[in-house]
């Protein structure tokens, strides 16, 4: 029995090591990316003085299009964001204005949270913009994780390098650290509450912390998520912002 256990553990170790970093990222993308998805979430921003929670509904098609409508609180209700390719528009019901966000404003935080418009805009597959290497393996709370180090291979990325901890069985990231070219840690993300949705593992809770920002980070709870839905095409038009 003891020998069998050793053989199983040894074979598992061999199988873990046998995968290349690109293969691991491919399997992560299969979980995290989809042709499209519709999700409802609540976002809690822990500021220095107070915490705020807002809910929203988002429609996303690959990494090209997304549409988000804020549902609560009253101050944010009706605010909508539309991303088409590399362009981003925001609609404000209070002023009935649609503003295109560009330039340095893309680096600003969304709704005071710990992620920026630039983070939201850059939804490309990691494999397409980073060169990945396996830095090691770690065991955390009884589960095995690959530790991947990613270095940007294109210029137009917000973070020069990343370090990602990926569940070795579910192929879902549980922690990510994002670095500037200087090596300074810019953001830290933790993902938890993994649930199987339509045959794929997906984190239902995410915590983002901008390391250069005061406050205790931003939590996102996904309250509903559906993959590969029939999303009406008019959603991804500027006309939909005013509806």
């Amino acid at each position: 029995m003891k020998n069998i256990t050793v053989i199983i553990l040894a074979s598992l170790t061999v199988s873990l090591s046998a995968q290349t970093a690109d293969e691991i990222l491919d399997r992560v993308d299969k979980n995290m990316s989809a042709e499209n998805r519709v999700l409802e979430s609540s976002m809690t921003i822990h500021g220095k003085r107070n915490s705020r929670t807002m809910t929203s509904k988002s429609y996303t098609v690959s990494d090209k299009k997304s549409f988000t409508e804020y549902l609560t609180p009253a101050r944010e209700k009706g605010t909508k964001m539309l991303k088409l390719e590399d362009k981003l528009w925001i609609y404000s019901p209070s002023t009935d204005r649609t503003i295109q966000i560009s330039g340095h404003m893309l680096r600003q935080s969304i709704m005071g949270s710990d992620f920026s418009y630039e983070d939201m805009m850059d939804d490309r597959k990691l494999k397409d913009i980073y060169t990945a290497t396996i830095a090691g393996e770690e065991e955390i709370e009884g589960r095995n994780f690959f530790v991947l180090e990613l270095i940007a291979k294109v210029e137009d990325v917000a973070y020069h390098s990343r370090k990602i901890w990926i569940d070795a069985l579910r192929f879902v990231p549980i922690k990510e650290e994002l670095f500037a070219k200087s090596g300074q840690l810019l953001k830290r993300t933790t993902l938890s509450d993994m649930q199987k949705v339509q045959g794929r593992w997906f984190p239902m809770k995410m915590t983002y912390k901008d390391m250069l920002k005061h406050g205790d980070g931003t939590e996102i709870h996904i309250t509903a998520i559906k993959f590969n839905q029939d999303i009406p095409t008019y959603i991804f038009t500027k006309a939909a912002l005013k509806q």
């Binding site: 220095k48 649609t98 404003m105």
Partner: protein, 424 residues
């Protein structure tokens, strides 16, 4: 004897004209440059005080740590109560609240979509209260290029550069997009009441100026402000007074354990102004020192030349029995009279020129279009009381010192050789 010496000086122009011209020129330059440098430093300090630092400034401790990021989420709250307390504690000062904010300045087309936009550097001050001095303090009325300052809520002044670049006219709408104090999206549309040009890139680039009540509404800063600035009612910045106010305020209101407690900074603590003001304080002293040194050397030489020219005269006077000490004394008296006349003339001319520059100034705005530091576009001299003596005494001392050094040669003359020297 004074009358006798004066007659000699006036009748023998070769003895007096050159030294008087040299002393006058030196004193003139000292007075003018002291007035000019004093004015330039004073202008820069005033501009910084009026726009950024106040004579003292109050921020929350947390805001002060990150002030370059304009972190309005860390701004002061309950400012009306604080200002009431400040008015009571420091009645000889004026207290004003301001909000600084950044974002995008967006110009809509006829469909309400973006026609043009650029980064905005917003400043909200009290423009609408009838007793507010803020518009004058920031020289807004004189800096208006088109239109007028806001007369009611919902109006804004924008940078004339921005208006020209994007074809924004008076009466058109612009929208500010940014973040509220709580981090929510801030959209606020204003009607452009005027365009402004301060002549300094730092102030003009993307500038939008609105009334503080509009900013409080748009940024969810009810009874909040980025900063409270304090100004002494009488005179300009006085470091000793500011130090005293700062110490008493921080003792009473500030706490290291509460990052949102207010903390006061004096002008000299901010924006690297301490180094600047130390330089300003020492500049006049440096100038006077250089002047006395340079003038003494020049006048020493002038005295030597005069001494050589008057070699025979001194010889005859010695031969006639006049004592060396008496000749030396009369030379010094002459120098004092010449120094006095030269200093009077130089001071009068210097004061006149400094006054002209005080009234008219020199406009450097054309060469400061891309300067991003806080410099005033027009520099003026200032006629301060010290200008009346700052050149006068050095002129007198330099002339006397120069002649004292040159006249010392009298003591080297030997009476026994006088007649031989004089070829009598």
């Amino acid at each position: 004897m004074i009358k006798f010496l004066l007659k000699g000086i006036l009748r023998d122009k070769s003895r007096s004209l050159l030294p008087i011209i040299v002393v006058s020129l030196g004193v003139f330059l000292t007075v003018l440059l002291s007035g000019w440098i004093g004015g330039v430093f004073s202008d820069m300090i005033d501009v910084n005080a009026n726009f950024i630092t106040g004579h003292v400034k109050i921020l929350t401790r947390a805001y002060a740590e990150n002030k370059n990021q304009l972190p309005n989420d860390l701004a002061l709250l309950d400012v009306e109560e604080l200002i009431t307390n400040l008015n009571s504690d420091y009645p000889d000062m004026e207290w004003v609240k301001r909000i600084n904010f950044g974002g995008l300045l967006d110009v809509p087309d006829e469909n309400g979509e973006t026609r043009a936009q650029g980064p905005a550097a917003g400043k909200a001050i009290d423009l609408l209260s009838p007793d507010s001095n803020e518009a004058d303090r920031m020289n807004i009325v004189k800096s208006i290029v088109k239109g007028s300052i806001p007369a009611k809520q919902g109006e804004a002044i924008i940078s004339d550069d921005f208006a020209e670049k994007f074809g924004v006219n008076i009466g058109e709408k612009v929208t500010i997009f940014g973040s509220t104090m709580n981090g929510s999206m801030m959209f606020k549309t204003f009607i452009v009441s005027g365009t402004i040009s301060f002549g300094t890139a730092l102030l003009d680039r993307g500038a939008i100026i609105i009334d503080i009540s509009d900013a409080q509404l748009a940024l969810d800063m009810y009874d909040g402000a980025s900063e409270i600035l304090g100004y002494f009612n009488e005179g300009g910045y006085v470091d000793v007074k500011a130090d005293s106010v700062k110490a008493s305020f921080n003792t009473k209101y500030s706490s290291v354990d509460d990052e949102f407690s207010p903390q006061m900074f004096k002008l000299r603590d901010q924006e690297g102004l301490d180094q600047y003001m130390t330089l300003a304080d020492s500049m006049s002293g440096i100038m006077v020192f250089i002047f006395i040194l340079a003038m003494s050397v020049v006048l020493w030489n002038t005295g030597l030349l005069g001494g050589l020219r008057r070699y025979s005269e001194f010889g005859i006077r010695l031969a006639l029995g006049e004592r060396k000490s008496h000749i030396y004394k009369t030379t010094i008296y002459e120098a004092i009279i010449i120094g006095f006349i030269g200093s009077i003339v130089g001071t009068a001319l210097g004061l006149g020129a400094a006054y002209y520059l005080q009234e008219n100034g020199i406009d450097f705005s054309s060469i400061m279009e891309n300067v991003t530091m806080m410099f005033p576009p027009v520099y003026r001299a200032v006629v301060s009381p010290d200008l009346f003596y700052i050149g006068f005494f050095p002129g007198l001392i330099a002339m006397t010192l120069g002649n004292a050094l040159a006249g010392y040669a009298i003591y080297k003359r030997k009476t026994a050789q006088l007649f031989k020297e004089l070829e009598v």
